[in-house]
Every structure is written in C-alpha cells, then in structure tokens.
Symmetry: C2
Subunit: 200 residues, 2 copies
C-alpha cells in the first residue's frame, strides 16, 4: 500500500541514490571517452566514483547499461503520445522528434551525439540499442492499429510498423561523420519518403 506519487518530497535516501547513479554514469562516460570502452573496467569506474564494484552493479545491471540508460527516452515517448490524434503515426513520430530535439540545449545536443557515436562504435552497445529499437515495433504497431481500425496482429499493420522502424534505423548506419541536426534531418526525410509510399 501507499504507492503514491513522490513529486513533493524526494527524501534524503532517494536524493543520495539519484546522485550516486548520476555520478556513476558521469564518471563512466568520462573514462570511456578518455581511454575507451573496452579498456575501462568496472573496477576502475567504481574506484573513480569511490564506491564498491558491487554498488556499480546494483545501479546498472550490466556495464552496457551505464551507456544505454537515457533519460531522454521517456520524454520522447511522452511527446509521441501527446501528438494530436488526427495525425498518421508517421506524422506523429516526426512531430515528436522535432518537438523533443528542438527543446535541447547545445550541451545536451553534443552529449546526445557523443553517446550515440559511442554506442555505434561498440558492437555490444549497438546490439543492445538495436534490441530496444526492434521492441518498439510492438509499440508502433499498437498505435498504427488504433488509428487504422485494424487489429494489432494484422500483417499489414505489423509490416507498416516494421517499415517505420527500419526507415528510422537506416540513417543510423549510413552516417559517417555528420552532426546531430544532419542526422535528424535524414531521419525526417526518410519518414517523409516512407509516408509518400516509397516512390522510387
């Protein structure tokens, strides 16, 4: 019982936990940047944060998660759900992407970009991201189903959702040395192209 919202009083314990979590991630990313992902051990990270390795794994189940964890994800999902109801799924997605990244500071931009490059450079991390990506097909399929009046298991609906995610994913592997805005523009263009029915 008592699973109420915890907005007003975070509590001392909660605050400490949040700080530790942030410290671990910050130091980890710094070390990864300085000496590489593989060359950095969990032990080193723990030492830098001045906690035990045990504690590291209590906060992040794996070494990978310390990079993958992104507090922007829930924001994006919320923005997606908050889009007007008369849009197609693709339009809603484009709108959400625009809305979220428009409200980002320069620091946040560069941080996001660095994180993404790190993820793409390390095979393990890239795979994890792909898994998250693939699991979003289900999410999108539900949305497509609701707006099209078909079932969520409909082959057409699922193919549609898959195509959306695929088109979104395509620029990720294309980019050699671009910037974040360029990258987002590519994603948007791909979605627009898909919405037009892939008129090659």
């Amino acid at each position: 019982m008592s699973s109420r919202g915890k907005d007003p009083i975070p509590g001392l314990r909660e605050r400490k936990k949040a700080k530790t979590r942030a410290a671990i991630q910050r130091h980890a990313l710094r070390l990864f940047r300085e000496q590489g992902y593989d060359a950095t051990t969990v032990e080193q990270i723990a030492a830098a944060v001045e906690v035990s390795p045990s504690t590291f794994f209590r906060y992040f189940p794996t070494k990978e998660d310390v990079v993958l964890y992104d507090d922007l994800d829930p924001v994006l999902i919320a923005a997606f759900g908050a889009q007007p109801g008369d849009l197609t799924p693709i339009q809603a997605l484009r709108g959400a992407l625009r809305a979220v990244f428009a409200g980002l500071s320069a620091d946040q931009m560069t941080e996001q970009w660095e994180r993404m490059r790190l993820i793409l450079a390390i095979p393990e991390l890239r795979m994890r991201m792909l898994d998250q990506f693939a699991s979003m097909i289900d999410l999108v399929a539900d949305l497509v189903a609701r707006r099209s009046g078909r079932g969520a298991d409909d082959i057409a609906v699922r193919a549609y959702a898959g195509a959306i995610m695929g088109a979104l994913l395509a620029p990720v592997f294309a980019g050699t040395g671009e910037t974040l805005p360029e990258f987002l523009a590519r994603m948007d263009a791909g979605l627009a192209f898909l919405e037009a029915g892939l008129p090659l």
Copy 2:
C-alpha cells in the same frame, strides 16, 4: 599466388575439421535443447564432443556463434543474386526466399525453426541476429541504388532499404507459436504490402 578453388580434393585435414565443427554444433544444440542455453557451459559442450574448451573457441569465436552460424545464409544470398535482373529488389527478395525454402527437407525445416525459436528466446542471441539484420541494410541499399539509378547514400534509397528490412523483421517479433511456413507467408505478405506502397 595459387588461390585456386578446392572443390575436387577436400583433403583429410579439411574433412576432419568440418566433422569437428559439425559435431560441436550438433552437441551444443542438443545440450541447449535439453538443459537450456544459459545452463549449458562451454566446458560441458567441449566434454560432450571430447575436445578441449580451447578447441571450441577455435571453431566458434563465442558461445553465441555456435547457434548463429547457419550454412543456409550463403545459399540465400546466392539465390538473391541469381534472381532475374528486371525485378524490383522486393520482388527479388521474395523470389529468393521462396526458392530457398521450397527446396528444404522436412528435417531441415524443423531444424531451422528450432534454431530460430532458440535465437528469439535468448536475448543475447536475438541481439546478434538483429545486428546481422541491420547490417544487411547496406547490402540492400546497394542493390536498390543499382536498380533505381540513384546513389547508395541517397536518403530515399537508404530509407527504402531500411523499410524492407523492417518489414521483414516485423513478423519475427509478432509470432507467438506458429510454424515455419506460416512465418514465411507472413514475411512474404509484409513485403508485398510494402511493395504496394503501404496502402493502409
């Protein structure tokens, strides 16, 4: 110099290697089926095949690869390349899939199906498969580029390729407890739907 084809005389050593490789994979898959993937150690597999753990890793770089390695993959790629030149990429893909799986024995069918279910059930394996899948976007993009007269870096081309892979991937996560033919039919239907321009 002297990098000739080796069709006529496999050689004793080569034959032994092929046998060892096959034995490792066979025993590994059996043990995975009997006691689960995680519960089976490389040591156990090596013991079952009567080789040293070192040898296991000489044949398969990781424990995952013993499941992922599929001698059907090159066949599929070859079939893809052998499709008539006047087809669209999607048509070529559909043709290749049909051609390859039509010529499969019942045993091969069930084996392929079991392998796929194992891969989907184990997160690590699923991720590896997704990575392979994603890397195929490049392949498909080249093909699309060639037939459409656009560049391989063209956003439209890449989005098109991504959409193809996404549509192919969609049924993989949809299926609850189907059969292989059902599964293939879903893939084919998804591609057909995509080719029609996603008319929802």
